[in-house]
């Protein structure tokens, strides 16, 4: 017990580790805020950089970057309607309208506090239930991931705005974009038009930067001379009463975040989509209608994506398997430093688990500190004249896209999606469903084929497996329930019944 406690406090008491965690968190906020610069990339560059360091120092810096980076994505989402990372896509839905009302400071303040609550809850779940949660995550068979992806498709009704038909069209379009590249099973080129550059597919962050960043910049040209909205900067830190009011919602969305994060096949991006959907379905009287600046629309994704960080560490620390792309790189760092990430990690190097838990908690406290300072300056970004802001956004989009894979081709793709997205916006399409399709398309493709080949390509066996396994059965029932309650099927059935 005393060992546990001293490992937990390692990062808190050692001035060097304390400083590195702080520096990491601060740097992470900026890495996360710039679209295209991702936490995965920052952490993999850190591997070479920290090669000769002590492993604890390297880990402290990485934890800081990770926690700060996941939060940072919300900054640009709120201020510019450009999510800094895929997990902040839903933050823009209500964050940007808030900034347009002059409440950018309040929105950033609230999302900071909620991110920290989500992050701490995620860490708590990691500390308390890691071995059990890891066992549960392993229970998910390919068919269960397939069912989750199907459930994800149903989010289209939440993300479509006014026209469901346009939303369904957009999801399908996104799905097709996601399928471009080499077929995962047969290694055949798929929708690549004979181009070698397309063999690797179209990176979904490229699509995201194009549709949200460049398209938004082009669209803003319509109101180039509009007088910028004066920002209210007096009430930045949300009052305690407000935090308390959203506490139940944030608990629920944190649980969504930590569970989805712990599943090795899904991460913060999908978690925040599910959380937003959950908020929209369960909150009866939001502060404003969803999509027009509801505080609840900020609370849900921001708690979920930060809680997913704790979740992603669950399979990594207990089994040596990555929970997402960032923990995959951190596992690589452990290997390079001569540690053995695997089921023996907690036995051979017992300090790693509690050190990481303590470090995550510490990074979240730094996040609160750094997140709540400097908001006044940040809010002023919205007041910058459009004629200055739009070129700047485009430069950021280009730099961000190029830095993903250092590939100029992807910059052209990004600009192409920007122009395409501009026209979609003009004709009243939403960008959210397209990203949903790009994320879920490959997941559906991969998991459906895995599930089918597991049962020898027998559709009857496949359906039987859905009913025979308790986990799959629950997921199937949820899908049926959502379908019944969300589609015209329910009123139709009711009408038929009452007629009889």
């Amino acid at each position: 017990m005393s060992d546990t406690f001293s490992y937990f406090l390692m990062a808190w008491l050692d001035p060097q580790l304390l400083l590195l965690t702080a520096v990491g968190t601060l740097a992470g906020i900026y890495v996360g805020a710039i679209p295209g610069l991702s936490v995965t990339m920052a952490v993999s560059i850190l591997i070479s950089f920290t090669f000769s360091w002590d492993i604890n120092n390297a880990l402290a810096l990485m934890v800081g970057i990770y926690v700060g980076g996941v939060y940072g994505g919300s900054r640009t989402a709120i201020l510019l309607n450009i999510p800094g990372a895929p997990s902040a896509v839903t933050t823009a839905f209500d964050g940007y309208p808030l900034a347009q009302r002059g409440e950018a400071g309040r929105a950033i303040g609230l999302s900071t506090v909620m991110s920290v609550i989500g992050g701490l809850l995620g860490t708590l779940v990691l500390a308390g239930t890691a071995p059990y949660l890891a066992d549960m995550a392993l229970e998910f068979a390919p068919r269960d991931y397939f069912l989750i992806a199907v459930l994800g498709l149903l989010l289209v009704s939440t993300l479509s705005g006014k026209s469901l038909a346009r939303g369904i069209f957009s999801v399908a379009l996104g799905g097709i974009i996601g399928l471009v590249g080499m077929d995962t099973v047969t290694a055949q080129p798929r929708l690549t038009l004979g181009s070698m550059e397309l063999l690797g597919g179209i990176h979904y962050v490229v699509v995201m930067i194009g549709l949200f960043g460049a398209a938004e910049a082009f669209y803003q040209l319509h109101n180039l001379n509009q007088v910028p909205i004066k920002q209210k900067v007096d009430k930045i830190i949300p009052p305690f009463k407000m935090v308390l009011k959203y506490l139940p919602l944030s608990m629920r969305t944190s649980i969504i975040g930590v569970v989805v994060g712990a599943l090795p096949g899904t991460g913060g991006d999908i978690a925040s989509l599910f959380a937003y959907d959950h908020a929209k379905r369960t909150v009866k009287n939001p502060s404003s209608p969803f999509g027009e600046g509801a505080y609840e629309g900020l609370v849900a994704p921001e708690t979920a994506n930060n809680a997913a960080v704790g979740g992603a560490y669950v399979p990594m620390l207990t089994l040596g398997m990555p929970g997402d792309a960032v923990t995959a790189v951190i596992i690589g760092a452990l290997v390079i430093h001569g540690l053995n990430p695997g089921p023996m990690l907690m036995i051979e190097t017992p300090h790693i688990f509690w050190f990481t838990v303590g470090n995550l908690a510490l990074a979240n406290l730094f996040l609160l500190l750094f997140g709540l300072t400097g908001i006044r300056v940040f809010s002023k970004v919205v007041e910058v004249p459009k004629a200055l802001m739009i070129p700047l956004i485009l430069v950021l989009c280009v730099v961000g896209t190029y830095s993903i894979n250092s590939n100029m081709m992807e910059v052209y793709w990004m600009l192409g999606f920007g122009i395409f997205g501009y026209w979609l916006k003009v004709f009243g399409f939403q960008m959210g469903p397209i990203i949903l399709g790009v994320i879920l398309g490959p997941l559906l493709d991969e998991t459906y084929r895995q599930a089918m080949s597991s049962v020898g390509d027998d559709a009857g066996q496949f359906l039987l497996a859905l009913l025979a396994n308790p986990l799959s059965l629950v997921l199937t029932l949820v899908i049926v329930l959502v379908l019944l309650s969300q589609t015209p099927l329910k009123p139709w059935v009711r009408r038929r019944l009452s007629r009889q």
Partner: protein, 335 residues
């Protein structure tokens, strides 16, 4: 995070410097090194732990960039299109030796110059801890009585599991359901949950799980038992004929454009030979479940040709239908 932005600036400054002093010694500026697989993968881990030693020897910075996609086609294609001045390196794995066979690209490592074949990964056929099979022979027997029943984890056509399966099928018969995952990691996760029955894996990815008792090793793809994995029998115990294909494993190497000046090739070769031999790196490879090779020049070329011929012909003999061309058409000699 600054490197991608600084790199072009460094390049411009470097080019200007080169123009002013054309006879300066190589290397006089940063070297761009492309990793053809993503961050956190085996190739990435090898590249990132070897590079600091090379930097020390060459007294310059190697700017590492991951350019994944299309089983490495995109990264290799990028390096081949850069100026052949010795300032563009490729960290690659075994995949390019099969590109023409799979119809992915018309180039192989024959079209580049091999600076160093760093090492070779060891391969183990693993099963879940609760599996009813204790050796590969038992699994093979069960599969022959119940063809098409067992679920094998794979990573797609041309991946390591499919190649191992091809070798087995070239000398015996193993009919399984092939469940494809995005890589070793997702495959192992599925195995820990009992969603697949076995999977050929690199020891680097599976070693810790076997040592921790979460999975068991049925056989190592080698002619002898391995020091690093005691108690797991060699595959030749169940399939003696497979020995003609061994030793076999995925490998990692460093490559440059063929037209690179000889001076640069010589400097790089010497630097990498010394770096791979470094004690720290050797220790890393051993922990990583790999075998150091450190091959250069003729030896490296020979290794590459031999690997290609063994792999291509076993794939052809096991199932010619999945290939775009036959090894014969491509002029690959029989092993």
């Amino acid at each position: 995070m600054f490197k991608p932005i600084l790199a072009p600036i460094a390049l411009v400054v470097g080019t200007l410097a080169l123009a002013g002093n054309a006879h300066a010694d190589y290397p006089e500026r940063n070297i761009q090194a492309t990793i053809q697989w993503g961050a956190g993968g085996a190739t990435d881990n090898v590249a990132r732990s070897l590079t600091p030693h090379v930097e020390d020897i060459l007294d310059t910075t190697l700017v590492l960039t991951n350019r994944p996609g299309g089983t490495g086609v995109i990264g290799m294609n990028h390096v081949m299109r850069q100026r052949p001045d010795g300032y563009n390196l490729l960290y690659g794995a075994e995949n390019p030796q099969l590109y023409p066979l799979m119809g992915l690209a018309d180039f192989t490592y024959d079209d580049m110059h091999a600076v160093n074949i760093i090492g070779q990964g060891l391969v183990v056929i693993a099963a879940p801890a609760e599996s009813p099979f204790d050796s590969f022979a038992e699994l093979l027997e069960h599969a022959q009585e119940n063809p098409g029943e067992l679920r094998m984890g794979g990573t797609g056509a041309g991946g390591l599991p499919s190649t191992v399966l091809a070798m087995i099928n070239a000398v015996d018969e193993l009919d399984v359901r092939n469940v494809t995952f995005g890589g070793d990691g997702p495959g192992i996760t599925a195995m820990l949950g009992g969603h697949i029955d076995f999977m050929p894996l690199s020891l680097a990815a599976a070693g810790e799980q076997i040592r921790g008792g979460e999975m068991k090793g049925l056989a190592v793809v080698s002619a002898e038992e391995l020091d690093s994995l005691q108690g797991v029998p060699p595959i030749t115990e169940a399939l003696p004929d497979i020995e003609s294909f061994l030793p076999w494993g995925p490998f990692w190497g460093v490559f440059v454009h063929q037209d690179t000046p000889d001076e640069a090739k010589k400097t790089l070769t010497a630097a990498y030979e010394e770096a791979v031999a470094n004690e720290d790196f050797q220790e890393f490879l051993q922990n990583f479940g790999a075998e150091a090779l450190n091959l250069t020049g003729e030896e490296a070329e020979q290794y590459l040709d031999n690997w290609q011929s063994v792999t291509a012909w076993s794939m052809y003999e096991a199932d010619a239908d999945i290939l775009e061309s036959t090894p014969e058409e491509l002029g690959i000699p029989r092993p």
